[in-house]
Amino acid sequence: MVQMPAMNAVVEVLKDEGVDTAFGCPGAAILPLYKAMEEVGGIEHLTVRHEEGATHMADGWSRTTGRVGVAIGTSGPAGTNMITGLYTAMADSVPIVCITGQAMTSLLDKEGFQAVDIVEIAKPVTKWAVQIREAATAPWIFREAFRVAQEGRPGPVLIDIPLDVAKQVIEYDPSIDAPLRINVVEPHQPRVERALDMLLAAERPLLLAGGGVILSEASEELRELAEYLNVPVQVTLMGKGSFDEDSPLYSGMTGVQTSQRYGNASFLESDLVLAVGARFGDRHTGQIDVYRGDRAFIHVDIEPTQIGRVFEPDLGVVSDARLFLSALLETAKLGAGRPRSSRGWTA
């Protein structure tokens, strides 16, 4: 049996989840966590000047490492200051965990000092917002938070910890613990085959890479597929960087603001768009009737409820971007001898 302060267990979980840097501002209601960070060590902490800053730092940290970023604040206005950062991370699918201190449980219904119901406030801009009520759940709620933040379409989680809960001692043995397994979203093979058939039948197809290609580390698979089938590639604003813009297959960005003239022109000449990890944002599509035209659309997204949300595609595929692209490439290679795509672009 290993006993330790609940917040020491939390710091052990953070470290095991790959957190070596945290961004935050201490306050009276979060000091047990700071005591644990000092005692356990191993996490470099930067004291921010505003909690929104902490959330955006955790955001940039996550976009760079691919791991879950951590921002820390105390109760009351610290949490409300984090809302813009949570919204940003939710909107752009960035996995971060925001940790807030909270007033003592006994003060929560007494209009206690800096005691605001941050969990209710944060719910619309998080994948999960939760208050720890039982100290023994602390390491497991944190494990679950890291799983939720990363699984499927990534996003932010907020964990609120009342001061009295944070001060308790619990059983936790970090030497026999590990991150929870993250469910992998593989494509359904008949839909991969249908996507390939449509792609090969098209005269002037385009691959459209969204932010999901970056999140799933699929750039290499995207390049291989584009080169193997000889299909031009566009990116969305969130997908920018997923494909080398010096490549002869790069055909720009479509949109009503962030776009190239050649991007919009080649999009308008295309007859099929295979969108991977993109959500058809309104600054990309502009007027939907023009955007759709007579083109066929295949929409691949890891989040099932995204498909059909902006318009009905001709084919929807629920999948992680990288797993889809590699399945499509493998399937294409099995059908050796079939004509390569893009006849219309070379005519």
Binding site: R49, T64, D92
Partner: protein, 227 residues
């Protein structure tokens, strides 16, 4: 890919402007030439996001980071700190650049103190039109230029002095031929001081970005190449 390459070769936009005041596409031409493919960029929301999306080049995943949907002003100063700290073990010498607007700059400007205190170097390139430029542009159909002008005194807020107040440094540029030197100076200065360094670029105040309601109706505001 003949057709794709033909479109790419012919349907471009000008970046070679050498007029004073500076036109924003020229700034991105200089950025593309000065920084290499390994540089990490962060950029947020405003006219400069649109110019960036039109003119800046990207080559590698995670190296062009943008807050796409929410558009929170001021995201870059803290985001750049997060990016730089994220690379502390893997690419400690990687260059990080934040491209900012003059208005959004002040939303999270206090985080410069964090970068200064913890020795987090990066380059901040400010595209300054002393306007809420995107909102001035959005006001055009209303035939309105109301409460979007933030100019006062000579340059409005003295952003170089703001940098200096936080223990950082900066330089203001008004001539397109000075941009490259200023960017090179900022790269060296960031490395030498281990702190953020600002290059503030004063651009044409009422320039508009190409934009439109539909992808076949994007309006251009500058002469096209060859025109």
């Amino acid at each position: 890919m003949d057709r794709v390459n033909e479109l790419r070769r012919t349907l471009t936009r000008r970046e070679d402007f050498d007029t004073v005041p500076i036109k924003a596409p020229r700034v991105y031409k200089e950025i593309n030439e000065v920084f290499d493919a390994d540089t990490y960029f962060v950029t947020a929301i405003g006219l400069y996001q649109i110019w960036g999306g039109q003119h800046q080049k990207a080559y590698k995943p995670r190296h062009y980071q943008i807050c796409g949907q929410a558009g929170p002003l001021g995201w870059e100063i803290p985001a750049a700190i997060g990016v730089k700290k994220a690379l502390k073990n893997t690419e400690p010498d990687a260059e990080v650049v934040g491209i900012v607007g003059d208005y959004g700059f002040q939303y999270m400007v206090e985080e410069l103190a964090v970068a200064a205190q913890y020795d987090v170097p990066y380059v901040i390139i400010m595209i300054n039109n002393e306007y809420l430029g995107l909102i001035r542009q959005a006001s055009l159909p209303y035939e309105m230029n109301y409460q979007v002008d933030i100019h006062y005194d000579e340059f409005g807020t003295d952003n170089v002095k703001i940098m200096e107040a936080y223990g950082c440094s900066g330089r203001r540029v008004a001539d397109p031929n000075e941009i490259r030197d200023a960017l090179e100076w900022a790269r060296k200065e960031a490395k030498a001081t281990s702190r953020p360094v600002l290059v503030e670029i004063m651009i044409e105040r009422e320039a508009n970005t190409p934009h439109g309601p539909a992808i076949d109706a994007v309006k251009e505001f500058e002469p096209l190449p060859g025109a």
